[in-house]
Point group: C2
């Protein structure tokens, strides 16, 4: 009946329950996470991102099976769905995925959908990863759709970021590709059977080389990771073992170069700062009179005060209380 003990002992139902509590920011979940926190820090968190239509989900499923079968790693999947379809959409997605992998007790899948709240998705994902880490999952695959701000945030959460591309989807795809290169540790071009897959892979390699040149010109060197470009096929399984091996090689590189340590530290700072900002705002809300706040908003809305001017007035009011 002790949630944290049940999670530690590998009870899947207990982990599911904990994740729901965390997603709802329920105090029981958050204090369970406090208790579990000393047991975290060993899992390898791998972000997998790319545009919709690139076949990510199938690839993630294949990768999870390789990690479990060939590498004998307990693996968890977090499928992040930033804009939830009406309601319960993530749950439906969960069920479809579950069906594929349901016979595998070494694999745990969870979908997350959070709407609205600024940074809410990144927070919930980070906390879910901590819970899975404490539950003994050795690799956590965090799958995200699209290439927006949330991906950049989730990349910050991961030790290793894999970017999936599909062969030439359209005209402004080239620009999007260049954009996402910044966060990639490994690039995988899916659908390697398609005729233009190698064209896409070569274009990506060329772009990465420009980046390398820029880096060398700026004098940055020592223990540098060169982003590999792989061709894979989620459909027929081609290239999956290579991808899995590259992920493991990146982990080794992180450990050897000291980047694992520095990324962990960045993540700790990020976690604490995020909590601080929320807490400070909540405290402030409790201190300021509601009427004063409403008045200030009305003045901003009526264009009498600019938002910055309203801020100054509100801070003065609250410092008096």
């Amino acid at each position: 009946m002790d949630l944290t003990q049940d999670v530690i002992s590998g009870n899947r139902l207990a982990l599911s329950r904990l994740l729901t509590l965390i997603e709802n920011q329920d105090e029981r979940g958050l204090s369970a996470l406090d208790e579990l926190y000393p047991r975290t820090g060993t899992a390898h968190i791998v972000g997998i991102t790319g545009p919709s239509g690139s076949g990510k989900s199938t690839l993630v499923n294949r990768l999870a099976l390789d990690l479990v079968d060939r590498k004998e790693k307990k693996t968890a999947i977090i499928a992040v769905d930033p804009t939830s379809p009406f309601s319960g959409g993530a749950l439906l997605g969960d069920r479809v995925r579950m069906r594929d992998l349901s016979e595998r007790p070494e694999i745990f899948i969870r979908s997350m959908a959070t709407r609205g709240a600024l940074g809410g998705l990144a927070r919930a994902t980070g906390e879910a990863a901590l819970a899975m880490d404490a539950a003994g999952y050795e690799v956590i695959l965090v799958e995200t759709v699209g290439a927006g701000q949330s991906e950049v945030e989730i990349a910050r959460l991961a030790h290793t970021t894999v970017v999936i591309e599909a062969p030439g989807l359209g005209d402004d795809v080239q620009a999007a590709k260049a954009g996402i290169l910044e966060i990639a540790d490994i690039l995988a071009v899916n659908k390697s059977d398609k005729p233009n897959a190698s064209i896409t892979a070569n274009a990506l390699k060329a772009m990465l080389e420009i980046g390398e040149e820029l880096r060398k010109a700026s004098g940055e060197e020592d223990m540098h990771w060169t982003v590999p470009v792989l061709q894979v096929s989620a459909l027929n399984g081609e290239g999956i073992t290579e991808l899995s091996d590259e992920i493991a090689r990146h982990r080794d590189w992180l450990k050897k170069s000291g980047a694992w340590e520095s990324r962990s530290r960045d993540r700790s700072i990020d976690l604490v700062e995020r909590l601080l900002k929320e807490k400070l705002f909540d405290e402030w809300r409790g201190r300021v009179d509601k009427e004063g706040f409403e008045q200030a908003i009305a003045k901003v809305n009526g264009r009498v005060l600019s938002p910055r001017q309203a801020l100054e007035i509100l801070l003065q009011r609250s410092s008096k209380n």
Copy 2:
């Protein structure tokens, strides 16, 4: 030589300079924005979002030309690029776009690329829209790539959100479409010449109808906006006038239903809260001893304290100072 006066009088160079100052969070830009703020609130802000490869940029260009030529509206474009390609990528994009529309003095284009900072992109975009509004632009088209958290945030900034889809890009596209429906006021299926365009349009209509059913079942009614699904072709210009007309019709609906007012108010609250959170954190940073903060982070990183426990200790320390 007075930046705000020059912006008000329609000097494009002055507006460009102001936008750069704002993007860099330069005090001169921010106080100019304070001065300009009373002149804002009239522009119709239209978010245009959709996956890469959907032909958004071409569509936005066409739409801007229709707004200027047929509707005689001064139009500004903000092209948001969440993950910047190496550096200067947004600038390059700017130049390509500029070439297409450069002969049109009634159109103003600006690309924005912000990396990292949580909520930084939404903030910079919001402030840029205010500056353009004050400069007399009547319609502001905010173009975003992808379907991530940033799109949801930018949708919150817009009065009207247009979601662009391309005919069936791939296997998990269906789910992505369902996801983005929540933020759409108008749906446009681009590439109407492609054979599967009408299949996609019909699928979207069917999904929207489910949403309508859910809404009716929950008893929500009165002055409800029914999301139209249009077929357009950015390439040959088909459906652009219809899209432009639907955008104008949505503006009229917003005004009549009171939604314009309530969305404006939400935006004011959002602006002030965002500034407050940043300011409170900065103030707190100034109050806490740097050494204490470093120690707490080290303990979190060493798994001695959970982030929440570190937060409590830090807040206690700072309240003593």
